[in-house]
C-alpha cells in the first residue's frame, strides 16, 4: 500500500519541482529573451485555447501512425515467418533491411510527396518505414529461438512444418514480437509527426502536429509550440499504453515477464 502511494506522490512532487524550476529560470532570463520560454500557465492557456486544432491535428497524427504501424506489423510478421523458414532467405534479405533502417527517412519525404501526394499517404509510409525494422528483427529472432526440446517433441509427434510454425514458433515468438512492438509503438507517433513535418498537408483538414509546428514556428508562437509538443507526447503515450495493454493481454498468464497472479 505504501509503495502505491509513493508511486502516485513521487511523480507529482518531481513535476511540481520541475515547474517551480521552470518559473525560476524564466524569472532570471533577461527581458528581451523572455519570449523564448513561455510560462507554464501560458502553455496551459495555449492548450485550452487551441484545443480543437490540437485535438484534430493529434487525431490526424494518430491516424497516420496507426496505419503505418499496423501495416508494418502485418508485413513484418509475414516477412519474419518467411525469413524464419530459410537461412537463404534470411541472408539474402537481411542486408537490405539494414539499408532500409539506415535510410534517412526525411530525405525520402519529397520523393514520397511526388509519388503518393502529401498528407496521410506520405505520413503513413514514413511511419511504416520507421516502424518496420524493429518488428521484423525481433519477431524473426523470436521465431528462431524456440526451445529445442519443444521442437523435438513436435518432431516426435510428426507435426507438419505449418503446425510447428502455428502451434510452436508463433506463440514462442510472442514475447519477442512485443519487444519489437513496444519499440515501434514509441517510434510510430514520432515517425508520423516527423513525416507530417516534412510531407504534411493542410488539404482536406489533414494537418497534423508536424504541420502545426511549421505554422506556429513561422509565427514565433512559443506557447503554442510547447502545447504542440505536449500534444505529441500524449499521442505517443496513448500508443505506448495500447501496446502495453496488448502485450499484457497476450502474455500475462504465462510469460515470466509478468508475475504469477496466484503468488
Amino acid at each position: 500500500m505504501n509503495a502505491k502511494i509513493t508511486c502516485l506522490v513521487a511523480p507529482v512532487v518531481s513535476a511540481t519541482t520541475f515547474i517551480a524550476f521552470w518559473y525560476g529560470v524564466r524569472g532570471m532570463m533577461p527581458a528581451d529573451k523572455k519570449f523564448m520560454l513561455p510560462l507554464p500557465h501560458d502553455v496551459a492557456t495555449a492548450l485550452v485555447e487551441n484545443h480543437t486544432v490540437l485535438l484534430h491535428a493529434s487525431l490526424n497524427i494518430a491516424l497516420g501512425a496507426s496505419i503505418g504501424l499496423a501495416t508494418a506489423t502485418v508485413l513484418a510478421v509475414g516477412l519474419a515467418i518467411l525469413m524464419s523458414t530459410s537461412g537463404f532467405i534470411r541472408t539474402s534479405l537481411y542486408p537490405h533491411l539494414m539499408m532500409l533502417q539506415m535510410m534517412p527517412v526525411i530525405a525520402l519525404a519529397p520523393i514520397l510527396v511526388i509519388w503518393v501526394g502529401p498528407g496521410l499517404p506520405s505520413v503513413s509510409i514514413i511511419t511504416f518505414l520507421i516502424c518496420f525494422f524493429p518488428l521484423v528483427v525481433n519477431t524473426t529472432q523470436g521465431l528462431l529461438s524456440t526451445d529445442q526440446k519443444l521442437v523435438e517433441m513436435f518432431d516426435l509427434y510428426r507435426a507438419s512444418r505449418w503446425q510447428q510454425i502455428r502451434r510452436l514458433r508463433i506463440p514462442a515468438a510472442m514475447p519477442y514480437f512485443f519487444t519489437g512492438l513496444r519499440i515501434s509503438g514509441i517510434l510510430a507517433s514520432i515517425g508520423a509527426i516527423v513525416g507530417d513535418f516534412s510531407a504534411g498537408s493542410s488539404a482536406n483538414d489533414g494537418a497534423g502536429l508536424g504541420f502545426l509546428i511549421i505554422i506556429y514556428g513561422a509565427q514565433f508562437k512559443m506557447a503554442e509550440l510547447f502545447a504542440t509538443v505536449i500534444s505529441g507526447c500524449l499521442v505517443g503515450f496513448s500508443f505506448v499504453l495500447v501496446v502495453h495493454r496488448m502485450s499484457w493481454f497476450f502474455l500475462h498468464q504465462w510469460h515470466d515477464s509478468y508475475e504469477r497472479s496466484d503468488r
Partner: protein, 257 residues
Amino acid sequence: MVAPPPPVHFNAVTKHFGDGPAVLDAINFTAREGDFIAVIGPSGCGKSTLLRLIAGLTTPSSGSLSLQRQPPVDAVVELAFVFQEPTLLPWARVAANVALPLRLRGVPSNECADAVHRCLTQVRLADRADAFPRQLSGGQQMRVSIARALALNPKLLLLDEPFGALDEMTRNHLNEELLTLREQAVWTAFFVTHSISEAVFLANRVLVMSAHPGRIQHEVTVDLPYPRTAATRQSSRFLELTAQLSQLLHAAETPPA
C-alpha cells in the same frame, strides 16, 4: 502359429555421431509386448540415444532397428516419449497441453475433451485442467507430461529419466502411479533411470549398459510379481535384486584395467 511381431527389435545396431567414436555398439535386443524395460548405466553411455533411435528422432549408423517389423519412421506403432523435463507449452493450459498430440493429428478440439479428461484423471490432475504449467509444481508438471503421452493410447512408451529432477517421495509416488496406469492399458515401456531401486520397482527386465562404447552388458530379470506396491520395496527379493544390480552397475562403470 506366427509369433506376434516384437514391439522393438535391435539387430546389431551401432550409432556414432559424425566421425566421432561409437556411442552405441552391437546392440542386440528384443522387447516383448508388455515388457517394462528399465535401462541403467553410467552417464554418457548412450541411454538417451537408445530411446531416440526407437522414437525415430535419430537413425542407426549400421544394423537395423524395427518396431513391429517396420522401420521406426513409418511404424504404425503408437508411440509416446516422456522427456526428462516436462516440455510443456508454457502458453497453453494443462488441457491444451494434453490435447496437443491429438490436435497435431488433426482431431478437432471439441473431440479431444473426453480423451483429455481421461488422461488427466489417470494422473489425478483433472481439477487442474485450466491451469497454466507455471502454476503447477514440478511433480504436477511431470504428471501432465505423462498425461500428454497417454493421450494417443500409446502401445510403446519411452521415458527418459522422467522423475530425475524430483525428490524421492514424489518419485516413489509417481512410480506407483505409473504401475497403476500400466494395469489399465497394455503398453511396452523403456524407462531410463539413474536409480536402481526405481528400475527394480518398475521393470520386469533391467538392462545394464556400459560406456565407451555403449553396450548392453547385462540383462537382469526382475521376478517380483505385479501389482507392486510400496510394500514391495521392503521385500527381501527386492533388496537382493537392488544389491545385485548395484554390483553390476559398479562393474560397468569401472573400465576394465
